[in-house]
Every structure is written in C-alpha cells, then in structure tokens.
Symmetry: D2
Subunit: 351 residues, 4 copies
C-alpha cells in the first residue's frame, strides 16, 4: 500500500510537492456537526508558515487554506473535508543546479533509487513543505477535541546544544525558537544565528505534553497509543528518535525506581509518560523527539551526481537554519490526529 | 480498527493470552513457494523461550509451534500460514492474589479502563508472552529474506547501567544477556543477579543492525521505513524509546557534522542510520531501543485495588529480572516483518 | 494486501485448507463483556456442517470449535477471539488422481496460475470448507447483535429451477433444502436427488432478509452498506450475482414506479431493499444471491492436466449435489459480520 | 473507518459535493514513470460530462481537471496525484424548496439519519456528480494499463425495457445511450424521451467486458476479484445488482451445463465470466449491472419533511431521464481501478 494515508477512523490523505501547483489534504471521518473555524486554521498555519522569523527560511508563503468540501453552513457534514494550499513563492529556478545531484543529508538519493524519477525542485514530496497539509488537518482534529478539555503543547526543549532550564508553557509563543524558557531561548537564537551566518544549521529536542487524555486509548497489540504516536512523529523527515516518559533514561533504572506506584488519589509518579501496555492511563502523556539539524546548508559538501561523478554541492535555496521552531505545530497536529483517531476507535470497540 | 493486525502486503494477526489455551499468529502474504524450515522456527523460538537462563523467568514453556495451514509438502502455498503455541506451564493460581489490584508498572489499570473486563492471569493479553507469536511470524519472514542476503542482528548494548565497550556480533549468542561484548556481559549478569536477589529488576538498551537492505524501501509520507520500524518496536510493551543512527545525539550536531557526504564509492558516513526521507539508502540500518526494567518485582509497592482501596502489592509470579536478552529475537522478528512488508510494497509500486 | 482479512472495526482473519490440519478464524473487535455462548456457536456450525442430509456431501465433520483466546469467565475480553476447527474426515487419498489436472468449474487452474503451487487436496484453500470459519465468526457477530433486536434470515428461494410460491420463515429449518415453502421444498429435493443420482448437481437462489437495522449504517462513497454486503457475498465461491430490493427487475421500471414514497407512518414501499445512497433506511434489507450448481460432478468432463495434455476428468470425492442449503448459514454469518462492523463504524463516526 | 478511500496498492480518495466548491480525488500508487496524457483525461471526462445529450441532465459542466501534484515533466512521480474539478454550473437556489424534505428514491432521508446534518444542495455528497472524480482516477488507471493490452468496454445492454439484439462494440460511442446495437438504441432513445416528456425516468442494464486480463488476479478468501469488482460497482448509487458470467441464469443450470470444460486450446465456454474461486482465469471477464431509473422525476410524489409532516414533492432541478449512458465510463473507470490494484497486489504476493 502506498503511504500517503494516515489513521483509521480519522484518516488523512496528503498530497503535493514543494514546488508543484499546490499541496493539500483530504480529512475523512470528521464528526458531523463539528464547528469549523477558519480563523483557527489560519492561526495554526501561521505558526508553521515559512518566513515567520530569522531562524526560519526566507521563503514567503501565506499558506492560505481553501476548503473544497465537507463543510456546509460552517459545520462539518461528516463527508471528506478537502483543503488545498497553493504554492506561491516557489523559486524552482534555484534548483536547476542541484537537479542532477544528490544533496547530502537529503532524501534525493533515496527518492531516485525508489521511484526512478523525481521532482527535484525543493525536494519535491520529501520537502518539509508537505507538513503544512498536516497542520491544516491537525487544526480540524484540534477543533474536534475542543469539547474534551484535552490540551496538546509542544515546545523546543533543546536547540543547538542549549537546554531549557525552566519550563513555562506561557513563554513558548513569545520567542522565535518556541522554547519554554526565555533565557535559554535567547542563547539558542544567538547560537543558531551564528551557525546560519556560517552557512550551517542546528538540531534540537522537541517535547510534547498532552493533558486530560482519558484512560483507555490505544489498541494493543500493535496499534498501541505510543506505537501510533511514534509512527506519526517518525513520519516527520527531521525526527530521528522518540522517547516516552523517562525514555532512554529508564534503561538505567531498576524496576523499583521506574514503576509508577498508585495511591487512592492517583499515580504517584509518571516515569511511563502516561502510557502502559500501549494504553493511556489518564496521566500526562509526555514524549521527546530528536530533531536533526537541517541538511540544507550552504557550506561545500562532497556528493555525486546522477551519473555517479563526484561533485561539490552547495545548497543555495532558502532554508531553515533550525527547523525545531516550525516543527512544533506539526508535532501538535500529528498528536491531535492520533488522539482523535484513537478516541473514535475506542468508541467503536465499546459500541 | 482493533489493533491486532500488523503489516500491509505481509500481514500478521496475533492472538492469545499469557494463561489462556494458546497464543498464535496468522501470517498472510507468504510468497508461494517459500521453503518452510520447521527447525529454523524452533531455533528462533528457543532464543525467546522463557526459562532459558538465570536472567530470564523460571516459567518453563517449550513453545512448540504447530503449523495449521498454508504449507504443503514443505513449501508455503501463499495462503494464510497459521501457527499455534499452546500454553503449558501456566500457574494461573499464582495470580489469584493480584486479580483485584493493579500492579505498578504493568498494564493492569489501563486494560481495566479500556475494556472494563480483563483476564488478569499473568497480565493476559498485555503479557510479553504475546511476543512468542511474533517470533514465529518473524521466522517465516526471515526465511522469505533468506535469498536476499539481508542480515538482521539485534543485541544488548547496555544493561543495568553497563555498556558494551567492544562490539563483536559473534559473541552475542555466547552469553545469557546477549551482549556483544563478553567482558561487559559478565558485569551485566553479575549486576542483574544482584538485583534479582533483591527482588528487583534491570533495564537496558538493545541495538539492531540490518545489512544489505536495498535502497528504495519505505513509503512516504507516512509509512516511512523508519516510521514503520518505530511503530513495530514501540508496539513492544517494554520499549520506551527508539533512535535511528545518531538519534538524540544528532540534536546537538550541526548540519555539516550530521550530513552524510557521498563519494563515488558510496556514503562516507552513516549518521542517518541508513534511512533518509523515510527511504532506505542501502547503508546499514541502525536503531537503538530503550528497554525499561521489568515491572514485575517482588519488593513491596503501593497500589490500589479495583475498588480504589490502597493496598500493598508484591508480585510473586515467575518473572524476568532483565527482559533485554529475550527481547533480542523479538526485535529481529519485527524488523524482518517490516522489511518483508516493504519489499513487497516496493514491488507493488513499481509493478 | 493479501485477502484473508475482512472488516474494519469488526475484523476477521481466516485460515485453513480443506484437507490440512485445521481451519480457523481470529475475530478482532469483539465488544468486551459480550456473553459467549458456546452452545450457540455449536448450533450455527451444525447448520453448515457437511453430512447433515441427503442433499449435502457425505463428508462427516463434527466441526467442533475450540476457542483459544479472547474469552475469560464466559465473556469476551475485547482481545482477539481465535477459534480452531480440526479437519477430521479428510480423505486426501481420493484426490490423488486429480492432483495434476484442473477440474472444470473449480478454481484449480486459477490457483495454479496465481500461486504457482497449490494444495490440490479437496480444493485446498478454495474449498467451501473455508466458510466454516466464517460461520464460527458469524456466531460471535450474532451474539453481539443479540441485544439489538436485529434479525437476519436467509433461505433458499429457488433450487434446481423450482421457486418458493409461499414464504414462511418458520418452515426454513424444517426441510433439508432450507426453502421457505414446504411444498416447493419437496419438489426441489426430488429434483436434486435425481440430479445427484445422475452424477450431476443443481444451483439456486438464496434470499436474505434483515429486520430492525437502524437507519444510518453504511459509509459512502465506497464502503456503502450494499457495497460491503455485495463484497461479503461475492467472496463466497458459489455466488455469481447479487441484487438488492427489486434488483435487476428495477432496470425495467420507471422512476415513478421504483421510487419509495414516504408517509408519516414510514415508507410506503421497499423497491430499494432497505438501502439508499448506500445507507440503511431502517426498512427491511433484502437481497438475493445467484448460487451456481456445484462444480463437483461425477460425469465425465474434458479438461487438461498441468502439462497441458487433454484428459477426461470425473470427480470422485464426496460433494454436495446442491450447496444452497448449506450456504444459508454462511450468508447469515457474513451479513452479521458486515452489520456489526458498520454499527461500530457508525459509532466511531459520531463519537 | 470512513468510506472515502478505495483500493489497496492503487488507492483513490475522493471528496466533494454536488454544489460545493469542487470535487476531486487523490490517486496514490501511480507507477512512477507512467506517461500522463491530459488529453486522455479530458476525453474520459467528456464521456461522463453532464449536458452531453438529450438523455442526460441539462446541467452544463466542463469538468476541467486540474492536476495539483504527482506529475513532473509529463510523467507520474509515484507520489500522490491529486486532481480537482471545480463546480461551475451549480444552481443551488433550485434546491431551496427541497431542503427540508426527503425526496423519494434519493438518499436524503438516509443521510439525515446517518449524519444528523446534510448539504441538501443537489444531493450533496450522494449526488452522482461524485463519480466525476472516479472517472478522472480511472483515466490514470487506464494509462497504467495501456502497456498491457487489457481492454475494458462497458455499454448499455438494456434501457427502458428494450434489449440490444446485436452486440457491436464499434457502435457504442455512436449513439447517445451508448448501446451496442444501433437499432435498439433508437428505440431506447424514443422511449426515454417519452418518459422524460412525462416527467418520468428509465432504468437499464449495463454490461462490462474486460479482455486480456492475465490469469491469477484476485486475493482469496475475501478480496476475490469478483468480490472487489462487485463492491466497486455497488458503490455506485444507481446500481442495484451485479452478476458475473451467466449470473442469475446459472441458478437454473446443472453442474454439467455450467462447468467450463478445458481443451489444450483453452476454455471451451465461459459460463463463469472469467473468474473462478475469485481469481481471473485469463478468459473474458463479463458482468452485468442493474441500473435503477433515476429517482429525480418531476411527477408529484408523497414524502415527509424533516419535521415528519406529509408533503408533496416534485423535483425541479436538472436531471438525467436515464443515467445508464453516463454511467458507462464510470463503470469502466472503476473496473480499471480494481484491475490496476490487483495487478499490483499480485506483484507483491509473488515478490
């Protein structure tokens, strides 16, 4: 099966290339009657939009979402809700000199091997631009969650080697790296700007915290809630790892240290990150993502062209020196999509 | 959709509880004509079998696999290959005193919330025993890969806080923790035995290395090869995190450091772990898993019973002080299943 | 994707060959808490069992269903419910003389072309024996429907050219052809016995009537309720056609004649057969199936062997001179499976 | 799972309402490198287009297809190919007087019961307009088949009670009812025009013949080729029945009459319609569809409004007095989609 459909009962199908006519998404399984607030969709798109700050690409896209179907008189009808986002500021010409070579760190080589042909302009389908469609779909998912008091917050916990020392969710949208610590944010920005000036880029760690998820979501043995969240997050090109709760640190704990004891008032700790046996416990769901440094850098690198000749590559398009800040709304979107899907699946199981 | 089916073109459906009549799996999509070697299935089951060593549970199960269908005259017919493993050494009586309470670190509470009823004996469906069915299916997958020269090796890289300092794949099956370093293995075993004696348990890190995977496997945007591997691995109850290539360490690298340059002879490094844009590059695929310490410990812990009363819990069944050694063949099995699935999906795409 | 999984939220995976060790099914998505009545399963199996009457095959199978998982203390746990039926009375030796040739009307040739190998004994996977697993799964589905007052009745409406002239559901289980008209039943039996004596076989028409289905089931645009029922029924090897409501007769009606008018008391007619736009209307769902004459006959027929040589074929195994009577419980089972699936899907949509 | 995705390895997702902004489709699994001929897409759209003749609706839509993604330099890239068709000639005002009532024979009532809300304009999602997206996707499928010599031809075999007496495929596109017999076509047209003048409508039978399909397509036990074709065809709102080969007539045959004998030169007859055991035999695949008379008629009919009051309904929009002629390209499109899907699935099975 080709891989452009995600989810079961709430299911999205995305399409589009970075420099094609448009990208978009068909959202299937929207609960009929859901209020669709186009202002909220715009707000979410704005958070992911390129050109939003000095640490993001200079590409200017308004990312206006046109709804083609599935909404009538302001409400979802339960039929597929299709959204299209036109590509406006596509400088495809910039890619003429990389069209025959494989940029290091990019998917160019892998795409060529897989498909035998490729739309090289801006990475084509492998571009992070594809995630705009996910954010639009995620906005729909968030509207579906709005009556349930579930909150999903992602933020940059670490960037360019600098870690947040305090965590204040109210600070996240106040700085251009979306860090939860304003002091760390300044240091991150300074370091990223240095790297940018040098034609280089930075990586980081994004954390996501989800509150008020009811206990009981997740479908063992395979579609465990954490397994589906892991798939959702690893389907983002920049993400190279995920850990729930204590994650890799749990590897060095003993059972006594790692087990979450329970009192009449609830769990006494949350080493597990809100999921046991693949099912939500009602605690906070917490996971962290390893975000690799943007592969697009303007420093010279060794590579080969399509004929196998060794060449020097120097990426000249407009790119993000740090993608972490823009990935934050994408992570939230994917988390919302997974949650809505599993809420519906649990409803089906118990029906 | 309920969650007991995994894969697309190569698809497994598992069933069974720890202390029910049997566990098993239906494997659909076996290439017709595949030679089915029951000795190899037995060999793989033996590697996962409980009671195999001092660092594993004392439960004795021969884990004999009976093939019910899909094989004729020693060859797969292409129809569903069903395998059943009877539960023999089930001491369900041991669980009478935990049947009304939620063991910390286990899925007991989450299962009760999700299903409203549960088979409490040995954890029921949430037990690691379910993975025996995956190993049986994985053995079929490995046989399907046998003509392709693909090798899949998993091993314990870290246990109870001790890391392998050398990596020698030939050592893995020579020690009961399945570490790739015999010196570290002895230290790991000593530390685990100490914890076991104290009624406690240990966690660790398992690494998996896959060689000779052709470039081009993986189905963007969502069914990326790493996304599907992540889902497969996070669907194991003990796994709390996964990272590919440099993983979380990549978060602190710059683009220049992290990008894998290419020469005429091939890639010059492998920070990516063999996957870019969700598609295999032909390099080694490398990932690491955070394995939590076994939640079943005999030390007293606080919990509540089904009525909400606070009680002391002390697990008395037979359990693994360290599950890492036994998870190794399960990780290989799931990796093999994902690879076979994606090989077939790629064949379909190009057909 | 291989084709041995059916359904979405209620999903069955079947396996097994006619003369292998066993056939069986894994039922996923059973509502936790459902009472599982093994006596009812036995009753349903008995209705499909071979050897039940003079118009069915002489093969004797008790078709005892062993439940391997998913049931605890008499209730479904919500985890996969696996059932196995051993093949006892398999005379595989009878098939030695047909192993290298393609029986006319059978799937032998098609299987050989598709898989390149085949288990020729009794038709292997293509045998109607596979439907025993469906009946077992259907019994579970019927138990899930039991609190809903939905009734599903199938019966033989026409056999060997003889049509029921009266329809009395109470008569169906009173005659061995499962006709709804006792007078027609006698004629049908007489004609079938004549054909049997001549080494020949008969076809017929099975009708299915489903009452008290709530309005609103079915998932346009593709998973319409009638589309999913059609797929379910055409997945039975003997079924060559399906029609809903007036069906092919509607082709000759005008819109005025065919439209079902509505009054305050409800619909005034049911030309549509209870489904419009692919969604149930709350009326009776009615469909009819064309059941072909059993291909296994003992009259000589022309065919070729695997080497392409022309040979005479005369099937000597034990076969049904008329399969319609035994297909009745299978049709009901598949209908129940589709309905449970769509009830759950509708619950998910509205959640 | 919501029902707007069809197919496995070749998978389409459709969206759109009759009087919304647009309808469209995302086609996933297009073989990379496939030549995309926009002229051919236009040609196929033209065959389904409303307003094409006196026996079709007067609604004027150019049905221009815009490709948004998945094509680069005239070739498919293997990534999702999205197509959008704008609704231009939507007279939504015409529907103001039916917005609160349920038109007999339409899906209005069922949609209201299912979703609780509905876009009443022109039937919304239940409109036959949805099939324009299928024709666009089918055009892609046909291009993928073009190198294989497979031909798919559908035509009107019966309309308004008049049957073709000769079958000449070359005549199909020469008459506005798409009948294969020019003499019968004239009678059909005359009868349909009479019904149209009376504010009434006609039904008919469409036959589809597929040649040069390789033996071996179809995935038992459930995804049999005929089962998947049946689902595809019954997912068309106007289709109330399907039969393969001799179909319902086979119910009255004996096994001896119905079995297709085989000689060295191939099958000696084709009662089965090209499929046995759910797998193609390499013979012609033949099936017939019962097409109901268009429910939209201007004669007065009894119905109720949303409050349950009895009212008289008289549909005034622009409608097809006979939908059979326009369904012909839709049937071909769905058949092509099923075939491409199964060709890819067979490639995966054997890989």
């Amino acid at each position: 099966m080709p891989g452009n459909v995600f989810g079961q009962e709430f299911r999205i199908t995305t399409f589009g290339e970075s420099h094609g006519a448009a990208i978009g998404v068909v959202v299937d399984g929207v609960t009929p009657g859901t209020q669709i607030d186009t202002g909220f969709i715009r707000h979410e798109m704005e958070r992911r939009r390129p050109g939003q700050s000095a640490v993001s690409t200079a590409r200017q896209e308004e990312d206006t979402v046109e709804i083609l179907s599935g909404v009538f008189e302001g409400k979802a009808t339960g039929t597929p809700l299709a959204m299209v986002i036109r590509n406006r500021d596509a400088h495809s010409r910039s890619y003429d000199d990389v069209k025959d070579l494989f940029r290091p760190g990019h998917a160019d080589y892998a795409y060529q091997q897989k498909y035998g042909v490729r739309d090289y302009r801006g990475g084509g389908r492998s571009s992070g631009r594809e995630t705009a469609a996910r954010v639009a779909a995620g906005a729909i998912a968030k509207m579906m969650l709005s009556g349930r008091d579930i909150s999903i917050v992602a933020y940059v916990r670490r960037a360019a080697g600098i870690e947040c020392e305090t965590i204040d969710f109210n600070e996240i949208e106040n700085n251009i790296v979306r860090a939860a610590d304003p002091v760390a944010a300044e240091k991150m920005i300074a370091r990223i700007m240095e790297l940018k000036a040098a034609g280089n880029s930075a990586g980081g760690v994004v954390e996501c915290v989800i509150r008020n998820v009811p206990a009981g979501l997740g479908e063992p043995a395979f579609d465990k809630l954490d397994a589906d969240l892991a798939k959702a997050m690893l389907s983002l090109g920049a993400v190279k790892g995920i850990e729930f709760g204590d994650g890799f640190a749990a590897a060095d704990l003993t059972g006594q240290e790692n087990n979450d004891e329970i009192a009449a008032s609830g769990f006494l700790s949350n080493h597990a990150g809100g999921v046991t046996g693949g099912i939500s416990t009602g605690q906070e769901i917490i996971f962290r993502l390893a975000v690799k440094p943007t592969p697009s850098i303007s420093l010279p690198q060794k590579t080969v062209d399509i004929a196998g000749n060794e060449v020097e590559c120097r990426t000249v398009g407009r790119h993000d020196p740090f993608i972490g800040a823009r990935i934050v709304p994408v992570v939230e979107a994917m988390a919302a999509i997974v949650l809505v899907d599993h809420l519906k699946r649990q409803a089906a199981l118990r029906a």
